[in-house]
């Protein structure tokens, strides 16, 4: 039950984009069409999930026993970078069409703060193993949910008449503010 609560809170209440402000760059950059938003979210789900498990293992099995916690940033970023490279190679080998569809967004996952943020927060919040697993599934699912909703809104927003200077990113940010307000409403659920 406690794990279920953690999952719901990771998806909705502590949503990674709208309430923790992580991964806002791809949120603004990749959400121009539903297709690329979906592909990006799938890749992010895989990368966050596997990188969380690997970095959690490395932190508690290698860094803590040898008193090298201060190397966490460097280790984590190297794990994430090599993992993204690995995913890129696998996708390129087994599914060239998907590789083409994701294009430049794949390597950009390395600099997505949601990935490093989840890995770091798993450690800083002091989660145990099962909590960490649930959290690192919930976080990217929340990411995907918001990305998909926002992409569909944004496709309509392109056609709307907006004040000239506010066209593009500024009006999208204001839309995101309204979405964040809606997310605040979920705070009463758990």
């Amino acid at each position: 039950m406690e794990l279920f609560t953690l999952f719901i809170s990771a998806v909705l209440i502590n949503n990674i984009i709208l309430t923790k402000y992580l991964g806002v760059c791809p949120f603004l950059g990749v959400s121009k069409s539903l297709k690329s938003a979906f592909g990006m979210s799938l890749a992010v789900i895989f990368v966050i999930f596997s990188s969380s498990i690997i970095t959690y293992g490395i932190y508690y099995k290698v860094l803590v026993p040898y008193n090298m916690e201060y190397l966490d940033l460097i280790t984590f970023i190297l794990v994430i970078a090599s993992l993204v490279q690995f995913v890129e190679m696998v996708i390129k080998k087994f599914s060239p069409p998907l590789y083409k569809a994701l294009g430049v967004y794949l390597p950009l996952i390395t600099t997505n703060c949601a990935v490093l943020g989840t890995a770091l927060l798993n450690i800083r919040e002091g989660y145990n193993f099962s909590q960490m697993i649930v959290n690192s599934i919930g976080v990217p699912i929340g990411f995907m949910l918001v990305m998909l909703i926002f992409a569909t809104i944004r496709e309509r927003l392109e056609l709307a008449t907006t004040v000239k200077h506010f066209k593009g990113n500024p009006i999208s940010l204001i839309t995101a503010a309204i979405m964040a307000m809606i997310m605040l409403g979920f705070a009463g659920v758990v």
């Binding site: 402000y21 760059c25 940033l73 770091l120 506010f166 009006i171």
Partner: protein
């Protein structure tokens, strides 16, 4: 003369925050108070100056194929160094910025400047570029946090970065009428959108002359 131009372009024409929308996460998260924004700017400036200088100094040694991993290691080292220094000497900043301090590693501005500028230019130029971009980043961050704090709490206060008890200055305007919405999450997105729009008005000033002043204030 050219050096001045480099600094200026970082502030207005290539403002990393309101024009290029890079590194948006810390902008939303650390502007809930002026103190946080100043702390973030200080940390960011130090990291950007270190990384830009080092990367441009070794641009001829690093092979092209492995340049991104090398850059990332340099950036991660600089960030960790900065984080440890803050932990030792400026605990309030370290605590209030939390995970966002570590996340400077994946800030697109830092990696973007390394890739787009420092890897092609001389050490002095990269140093100047780092200063310009940091000033642009700092001004945007401070403007946005001032906007949010004044509307959100009705007063503007800057606490000392080294001691959370000491207040450097404090201006009260309408203390009892603050709308706490602006310091919350949704308000962050709203203020960012509004300020980015106002900055656009300022940047495209030949379009309308009388709106120019409004953009400058923000």
């Amino acid at each position: 003369m050219k050096k001045i131009e480099l600094i200026k372009s970082g502030i207005i024409k290539e403002n990393p925050v309101f024009v290029m929308f890079l590194g948006t996460c810390p902008i939303l998260a650390t502007t809930n108070s002026l103190t946080n924004a100043v702390g973030m700017t200080a940390a960011f400036t130090v990291v950007l100056i270190i990384t830009n200088t080092i990367i441009s100094a070794m641009r001829k040694i690093v092979p092209d194929q492995i340049r991104i991993p090398v850059y990332i290691v340099v950036i991660a080292t600089a960030v960790k160094f900065c984080e440890m220094m803050l932990n030792a000497y400026a605990l309030p900043v370290y605590e209030s910025l939390g995970v966002f301090l570590a996340l400077i590693v994946v800030n697109c501005i830092v990696l973007g400047r390394a890739e787009a500028f420092a890897s092609k230019n001389t050490v002095t130029d990269s140093f100047m570029d780092a200063i310009g971009v940091s000033i642009g980043f700092g001004i945007s961050l401070i403007a946005m946090s001032a906007f949010r704090e004044i509307l959100g709490t009705g007063e503007l206060q800057l606490k000392s970065l080294f001691d959370s008890e000491k207040i450097v200055f404090q201006i009260s305007m309408f203390k009892n009428y603050g709308a706490s919405f602006f310091t919350s999450g949704a308000g962050a997105f709203l203020s960012f959108g509004l300020l980015a729009g106002l900055f656009n008005i300022y940047k495209n000033k030949p379009v309308k002359k009388d709106t120019k002043k409004k953009g400058q204030v923000k």
